[in-house]
């Protein structure tokens, strides 16, 4: 039996013609911004690494306040290559969030959200929320000191949302305090609820991208652009990028294995120099700058409301940017994107240098 008989056999049963056609038709426009096209695929690649290493870690991890820290310690010290798998999981999570941010901001600045891609943008925004929830829930799982306090602060922030705050706080913590119940809950989110959600939404996101093809920045739209076949030419370039990411990941994990820290102790003071993960740093730093009281309102309530409003704005951008939707240049939104980028980067730097 040769390859083509196998292919025919499968094709007779599964009807793969449309897929083949899609693969042959898909083209990537080439222009001076083409570089940014790689980051979506790279995020996807890192996500697959997360799935793989996550499943591996699941074989040894034990989700309880008594055992979690020790089981991670066991993975790091006893299990063969356990340190490597855990380090890759942590590093890849961070790189994935970084590439996701790059992908998002490049899509924003190139106005890729304009019709008919509103849904693609919204599904992408949902993916952002889910990925951050992955990061937040995963951070607690090793049950170390930093994670314990990060979770206290994070869930308390959810608790100041007016109206539903109390419910949210108890829902997230699985009680009134951060305890083993919280850990079990976050574990459930991290390995069951969020994976289910992300699979569904990622599927929609990718389907839409395939349907609509690659977006071209408005300034280049309508011009005659060189195109490259996705299969195999662009795909090979993508693979190159993935290989580079894999190399970076391996190097980072081997040279800077992810630390475990000290076991969480609910009856210890928050350690000096406590910081959140870098992707929450800009919010953390903002909360530090807001004074305790602004008029009669607690500063943190105001901060949380502002972040909520900002998030909603980001979500609805395709509908708010009327100019881009009508095919006109929209400087305003470019400026907003750049200000936001500068704000996030700036606050992050301040957070780390202070």
């Amino acid at each position: 039996m040769n390859m083509s008989t196998i292919a025919d056999w499968v094709n007779d049963r599964a009807g793969l013609a449309p897929l083949k056609e899609l693969a042959q038709k898909k083209e990537v426009p080439l222009h001076r911004h083409s570089l940014w096209y790689y980051f979506g695929g790279m995020t996807l690649f890192l996500f697959f690494i997360q799935v793989g290493t996550g499943i591996l870690l699941l074989l040894y991890y034990r989700p309880s306040a008594e055992n979690a820290f020790e089981s991670v310690q066991f993975i790091m010290t006893e299990v063969q290559f356990g340190w490597l798998i855990r380090s890759i999981h942590s590093w890849s999570a961070n790189l994935m969030i970084a590439t996701m941010f790059i992908h998002m901001f490049s899509a924003f600045l190139m106005k890729a959200y304009r019709p008919p891609r509103e849904f693609t943008w919204i599904s992408g925004s949902l993916l952002l929320v889910i990925v951050l929830a992955f990061g937040f829930s995963g951070y607690l799982l090793p049950w170390n000191k930093l994670a314990f306090f990060a979770t206290k602060v994070g869930t308390d922030i959810a608790g100041v949302v007016p109206g539903i705050g109390d419910f949210l706080l108890r829902f997230l913590r699985g009680g009134d305090e951060v305890t083993g119940a919280t850990l079990t809950r976050f574990f459930g989110f991290h390995v069951a609820v969020l994976p289910a959600l992300i699979t569904a939404i990622l599927f929609i996101h990718l389907l839409l991208v395939q349907r609509q093809g690659m977006s071209v920045p408005p300034s280049l739209e309508g011009k005659a652009l060189k195109k490259m076949k996705f299969v195999p030419n662009f795909l090979l370039r993508d693979l190159m990028g993935w290989l580079i990411a894999l190399g970076a990941l391996a190097a980072l994990s081997a040279i800077f294995p992810w630390e475990l820290g000290e076991k969480a102790d609910p009856f210890a003071s928050a350690p000096a120099g406590i910081k959140p993960e870098w992707f929450f740093m800009f919010m953390f730093q903002t909360l530090k700058f807001i004074p305790a009281k602004i008029g009669p309102i607690d500063g943190e309530v105001l901060g949380v409301l502002a972040f909520g409003a900002g998030g909603l704005f980001w979500f609805l951008v395709p509908f708010l940017d009327r100019k881009t939707a009508q095919g006109k240049p929209s400087r305003g939104f470019t400026v907003i994107g750049i200000i936001l980028l500068v704000y996030i980067v700036g606050m992050t730097i301040i957070g780390y240098t202070q």
């Binding site: 003071s269 530090k288 009281k293 607690d298």
Partner: protein
Amino acid sequence: MEKTNTPLTTRRNFIDYFLGTSLGATLVATFYPIFKFLVPPQIAESTESSVVAAKVSELKPNSGKIFKFGSKPGIIVKTPTGEIRAFSATCTHLDCTVQYQEGTQQIWCACHNGRYDMAGKNVAGPPPRPLEQFTVNVRGDEIIVSKG
């Protein structure tokens, strides 16, 4: 839509209504228990209203110590003049656990650099309220902390 009362439309209306409400009822019946399941049960707060928090002899002047008050951390502070005070150790900002800083003689929260003075009053940083103060009684060598 125009309302006609031919038997057919009424029957159809009835069926629509019947199916619609049963669908709604089924959804509610399905999701209500799920929703309720997700909300953790209220665990009775520990009824402990007073605990032996520390020994007088182990506390130096100008120092602090975290102790367990039921399921929550509390902090005892011995002022440089030897006075003993006790507070909830949960920061009123975003819930981190505070600590006593000998250098500044303040209660300090590492999370966002919140500061309280030795009376538990919020004096700097983001905390919006003073720390909850507990009553301190010394019986022999034991420091007994109670609520209220």
